[in-house]
């Protein structure tokens, strides 16, 4: 039983009914009504809003949000370019796959958070630190998925390009790249949440500007309302970014639909 792509799951259930939001809303309303007065740990939802408004007025919220989103966007773009290209090259060459296999296998297995201290040690707290780390983390799922699907390209399609006397470039453009798109997207689907988490982690660990460091500062000062407020902001960012990605994925997949003949093995 192959792992089903989540978009398939979403389709088969239809979009979750909006009525399903009721329990969550109810919970928030009860929280607000009960309002555990005096508890510094569970500020009511209205206090979250006030906390966020304070951060907003001081301008810290927007600048942190900007810093985080810039890192995320630039890192995903770079990871797509590097991972896609390297994946195609490695997937096309059997020798490269054999030679790099164990090394890539190790890099894939390495839990992403440990890259953060390594990069901090080698690069120091420089401006580009965040970007370098997030690219290093996000590139693997994209690279490995693209490579394995390119490698699994069926021989039949190779014969098609011979029959049609396609040149190297035309083969690449008309056969190899379109067949790699679905697997590339599966990789990207893994890379997006990972990139969000690691961006926040770097900010939390290094105190470089961003939502991650902002939330840690609020926590250290016991501004619990701000912490909850920022949690909602991070949740919204995650929701919007993942949603945007699903839409982009759907558009690309309708242009280059996955075909059983060339996505075996992904």
């Amino acid at each position: 039983m192959p792992r089903r792509a989540p978009w398939l799951t979403a389709l088969s259930f239809g979009l979750p009914s909006l009525r399903g939001l009721l329990p969550l809303l109810l919970l928030l309303v009860i929280w607000q009504v009960i309002d555990p007065q005096g508890s510094p740990y569970f500020p009511p939802p209205s206090a979250w809003w006030t906390g966020l408004a304070t951060l907003m007025r001081s301008g810290r919220l927007l600048s942190a949000l900007g810093a985080t989103l810039t890192t995320f966007g630039a890192a995903i773009a770079l990871a797509c370019a590097i991972g896609g290209l390297a994946g195609l090259l490695i997937g096309r060459s059997r020798a490269a796959r054999r030679a790099l296999g164990p090394l890539l296998e190790f890099c894939r297995g390495l839990p992403p958070p440990v890259i953060v201290p390594v990069a901090v040690l080698l690069l120091g707290y420089v401006e580009s630190l965040k970007l370098v780390i997030v690219v290093l983390v996000a590139v693997w799922p994209i690279l490995l998925n693209t490579a394995s699907s390119t490698a699994a390209l069926s021989d039949l399609l190779g014969e098609v390009s011979q029959t049609l006397r396609l040149g190297r470039l035309a083969t690449l453009r008309k056969i190899v790249v379109p067949s790699a798109v679905p697997a590339f997207l599966v990789g990207l689907r893994g890379a997006v949440p990972l990139a969000i988490i690691i961006t926040l982690l770097v900010e939390m660990l290094t105190s470089l500007p961003g939502i991650g460091s902002l939330i840690v500062i609020s926590q250290r000062q016991f501004h619990s309302a701000e912490v909850y407020g920022l949690l909602i902001v991070v949740g919204l960012v995650g929701f919007v970014l993942n949603g945007a990605f699903v839409i982009i994925e759907g558009m690309l997949l309708s242009r280059w639909p996955p075909r059983a003949s060339y996505v075996q093995g992904t």
Binding site: T9, Y41, P102, F106, L121, S218, G235, T266
Partner: protein, 257 residues
Amino acid sequence: MRTDSINIPGTVTLLAVAAAWEASVRTGLVTFEYLPAPSAIVVAFAEIVRSGELLANTAHTLRSIMIGWVLACLIGGVLGLVFGLSAFARRYFLASLEVLRPLPAIAFLPVALLLFNFSLTTELVVMVYASIWPMFINAMGGISNVAARLHDVSLTLKLSPMQTLVKVLLPAAAPAILVGARLCLGTTLVMAIIAEMIGNPHGLGYAVVSALQAIQPEQMFAYVLFIGFLAIALNGCLMLAARRLLPAYGREAANHI
């Protein structure tokens, strides 16, 4: 990308990378101030093994991974079952979970710190929150995708709902649930390291960060490489177990990247 029994070019590449690394550090070719040579990392590794530090940290991390994994599999599995079986649950509760799912678990760390301070609870809360999702999604998908014909079979055999669940639905959904459990273990490991770096000053994650802060690059690299091997070993164990449990599953799962 499976490697065959002995991959000679692959091994040579690994050795070549290590040799080039060693040589460039020795000759001062690279300019990183704190990059230790592989030989120095090996020495540091022997040291943390001898002092028992590595063992203690590994024990802590493995213990929290096991607790977190079992909790996440149970919670995610039960939720997945309920939502896979009941259209009512999907209609009235699924959207609430779907809103919570993309919330990056790491953002819960400060909240957990606020509530539970630097403790194992903080670590577990973050780990479990992050890892119930793969299990939930796979169990729900697995159960609700059981072929209609199998439902007819259980009707024909007049199986009770409980018998249907145990004899028909769970076996049919087992491959999906196993995939969920494997993904879940990976997430648990990653979140354990993250939580130890920020939330709970124990274990391998904390060891890496404290070696960084003490500027002991050799020790830090020893820990980082060890964590890499540990992750691969854990995943390997699970693949082996999955292949034992479901022989047909092994070959397909091997192809997963």
